[in-house]
């Protein structure tokens, strides 16, 4: 039985939540790509809203919309990813401890700062007593969610799983990482990461939620395979590893129309994709997405939103193209065939996700 992804809802630095289409043009950001939050009170009752920080709000509105689109009242399980958790409340509580010498503290920030608040708030909101796990592992947390969701769907009584990923950034955290040159200097913007010759990235933040199930009804994508691995063994190339992943999923190289890369603009990081682009990808569309949402650990979830839009027939935007296939590929009878997503961060925490338009 297949695994289908449905109703992907994303909050990002562009208007992806209310509009839910690929942006026609992209905005330029030189600093960090703060996400555009909707008017929360349109979606969440004031009583609930008051108890939630911004981070939990963006998660809840995405999850809510994803469920409502499908008319699902309660998911059977909730699996989420966040690598940084509630950064704002973590800083708040840590600062309170340090500033007040561990005195006069209140529990609110502490409770909201825990990484698993993401999943548990959703469980509370939907009275979901099923399986609930939060993955927090750097750049592969979301892809591990996909892997886990596949395992979970085999369990009895688990038909619809709410999955998602979110990470937030704050001025304080941006400033901290700026001191060690994690970011580009403000001379470059997100629109120039494709050919950047400098180190550092343009960071972002956002939340993306979706439903997975074994029934194809209302599906946006079919999930054919996922692989998460830490590093390439010394004697194995990225291309070798991708080829064996395809074999294990019964797909040939020619079946792949498009490849979406986790190119993030850091020249050293992106160097690793170079041979892969000219080799494996030479007859395929090669796309990237991190300039739409900014670079953050769990942005793999956003890349699925991006792919789902192309799969649904929206025109492939030129701004997302690294290399366009010579021959007309994809969209046989209007259906996008296989898309392979390949991502890593500094040659660690690799993931391959293989999806198909439906």
């Amino acid at each position: 039985m297949g695994i289908y992804i449905k109703s992907i809802v994303a909050i990002s630095a562009h208007d992806t939540f209310e509009c839910n289409h690929l942006p026609l043009t992209l905005e330029s950001y030189t600093k960090w790509m703060k996400c555009r939050t909707p008017e929360f009170k349109k979606y969440i009752p004031p009583k609930v809203l008051r108890r939630m920080n911004r981070f939990n709000r963006i998660n809840l509105v995405c999850a809510k919309k994803s469920l409502e689109n499908l008319g699902i009242e309660r998911p059977d399980a909730i699996i989420t990813a966040t690598s940084m958790g509630c950064v704002d409340d973590s800083e708040r509580f840590l600062n309170q401890i340090l500033d007040n010498d561990e005195m006069l503290l209140t529990p609110t920030s502490f409770i909201q700062s825990t990484h698993n608040a993401v999943g548990s708030n959703l469980a509370l909101a939907y009275d979901c007593k099923g399986y609930n796990v939060v993955y927090t592992h750097d750049d592969s947390a979301f892809e591990t969610v996909l892997l886990d969701a596949g395992v979970r769907l085999k369990s009895e009584g688990v038909n619809n799983i709410l999955i998602g990923a979110a990470d937030e950034l704050t001025e304080e955290n941006y400033g901290l990482k700026k001191t060690v040159n994690q970011w580009k200097t403000e001379q470059e913007d997100n629109l120039s990461i494709k050919n950047s010759k400098t180190k550092g990235t343009i960071p972002g933040e956002g939340a993306t939620f979706m439903m997975v199930s074994e029934s194809p009804e209302n599906a946006e994508l079919e999930l054919i395979g996922v692989e998460v691995f830490y590093a390439l063994p010394p004697e194995i190339s990225l291309e070798d590893k991708v080829l064996s992943f395809l074999v294990s999923n019964g797909v040939s190289k020619d079946d792949i129309d498009s490849v979406v890369l986790g190119l993030n603009g850091d020249c050293e990081n992106d160097l690793s994709y170079k041979g892969f682009i000219t080799g494996f990808c030479n007859d395929k569309n090669v796309l990237y997405y991190k300039h739409i949402c900014g670079n953050y650990h769990s942005d793999g979830a956003f890349s699925l939103w991006f792919v789902s839009k192309i799969a649904s027939g929206e025109e492939l935007p030129q701004y997302a193209v690294i290399h366009r296939a010579d021959k007309e590929v994809g969209r046989e009878r209007g259906v996008l065939r296989n898309v392979l997503l390949v991502k890593h961060a500094n040659n660690r925490n690799f993931s391959f996700v293989l999806v198909k338009g439906v």
Binding site: I78, S83, M84, G85, F93, L94, N95, I97, L98, D101, E102, M103, L105, T106, P107, F110, I111, T114, H115, N116, A117, G119, S120, N121, A123, L124, Y126, D127, C128, K129, G130, Y131, N132, V133, V134, Y135, T136, H137, D138, S140, A141, T144, L147, D148, V151, L176, K177, T179, V180, Q182, V228, F229, Y230, A231, L232, P233, R348, N349
Partner: protein, 403 residues
């Protein structure tokens, strides 16, 4: 379709460090002798030093770094040091050898990760941003183990509060059963830090006395620190390498209580569901559980709701149960794996453990924990881990033929 034997998940190595010992043997001897590791704070730099009791690991960071042979000019989160310590013991115990033909994984559960390092450097004079940034990565510990042992296949980190490492065990077992991995090092680690001590203090659930789980006069929990790791291997690996096995992971379930951010529902719905689910997976009935390693934190809320859930499942014929928190404190993200190891030791040594500090049964709850450590026939042990956010997980460890 694979036979039940083929889908078994075996434990072939264990390692633990806690307030009652630096390895499995010392921990077991302390439990057997009824020795508690709870006492005054020695290493944690906090204004609450005189107020709260904790269970600290009896080594400074410098001693741990030296013992692990790490670069002493680097600064490592204490959580990472404890994890490396316990993982090393577990891997040596399992006769771990690097072999690219064996698909290997590492799964770490943690709550605070490297927060202690952030506390030392954040906005402090001479603070090093590099250390703060790596301390904010929850994945740092798992990656450090992967780098040291050359594990390339699967590395991840789970944060579900106090059930984090119980979920690490469950995921590891699932990945072996689904044939994605041949062996996996699973466990968890958490060190004491100001962040958790003060966080729990704001919730007013820390006791100033040694904790008394399941006692009517319980006044809260004592925090602890530590790490526990297990090596899980597939039946194929065990057969091929003729490995010694300690026990098998026969059942587990994860449910959310979906009631409150920091409190469990009166009926213990989440705990009830995961205990029931774990037995279903193990294919055993309640009468076959020989011992429950309870979550038993010593907070008013946990112990009464866990008792309610135990009564709902087991009725009057409830199995012997005890909480080991009076020995090691509440080790948070490490609790699930450290206590799973203690559960395996219960099977290995055919004994059940005394619930220290228990005097008076909880008013209106007529179940009483084990009051003396004693020999007992133990085939199946249930180990409970319930966390904030309603993240509840129960794991069942079972005897294998080689025990």
């Amino acid at each position: 379709m694979q036979s039940p034997e083929q889908s078994r998940v075996y434990i072939t190595g264990m390692g633990v460090i806690s307030g009652i010992g630096k390895n499995v043997e010392e921990n077991f001897n302390s439990i057997k002798a009824g020795r508690s590791g709870i006492g005054k704070i020695k290493y944690l730099n906090t204004v609450h030093k005189e107020k709260f009791l904790v269970s600290e690991v009896a080594f400074s960071n410098e001693e741990l770094i030296l013992g692990l042979g790490l670069d002493k000019d680097e600064e490592y989160p204490r959580t990472t040091l404890l994890a490396l310590w316990a993982a090393r013991e577990a891997m040596e115990d399992a006769g771990f050898e690097s072999d690219s033909a064996i698909r290997t994984g590492i799964i770490v559960g943690t709550t605070v990760g490297g927060m202690d390092v952030a506390e030392n450097h954040y906005k402090q004079q001479g603070g090093n941003p590099k250390f703060i940034i790596s301390s904010q990565s929850k994945g740092y510990t798992a990656e450090m183990i992967a780098e040291l042992y050359g594990i390339y296949d699967f590395v991840t980190t789970i944060t579900t509060a106090c059930s984090s490492s119980a979920n690490a065990i469950a995921l590891g077992a699932d990945l072996i059963k689904s044939k994605r991995l041949d062996r996996v090092i699973v466990g968890g680690a958490d060190s004491l830090c100001k962040y958790t001590l003060n966080g729990f203090n704001t919730l007013m659930i820390l006791s100033e006395q040694p904790c008394t789980p399941f006692d009517d006069n319980r006044s809260g929990l004592n925090l602890g620190e530590g790490a526990g790791f297990l090596v899980l291997e597939s039946s194929d690996q065990v057969r091929k390498k003729n490995k010694h096995t300690y026990a098998m992971v026969s059942g587990y379930a994860n449910n959310n209580d979906a009631f409150h951010q920091t409190a469990t529902s009166d009926t213990g719905e989440g705990p009830y569901l995961c205990m029931k689910g774990a037995m279903e997976m193990a294919g055993i009935n309640p009468l076959e559980i020989d011992y429950i390693n309870a979550h038993g934190t010593g907070t008013p809320n946990n112990d009464v709701t866990e008792s309610a859930a135990i009564q709902r499942i087991f009725g009057r014929q409830y199995p012997p149960f005890s909480s080991l928190k009076p020995y090691i404190g509440h080790t948070l993200g490490a609790a699930g794996s450290v206590e799973a190891i203690f559960s395996v030791l219960s099977i290995q040594n055919q004994m059940i453990y005394k619930n220290l500090n228990f005097k008076t049964p909880i008013h209106g709850v007529d179940i009483v924990p084990v009051t003396e450590s004693k020999p007992e026939k133990v085939v199946h042990v249930m180990s409970n881990s319930f966390g904030f956010g309603g993240n509840d997980t129960s794991v069942i460890l079972s005897q294998t033929n080689s025990n």
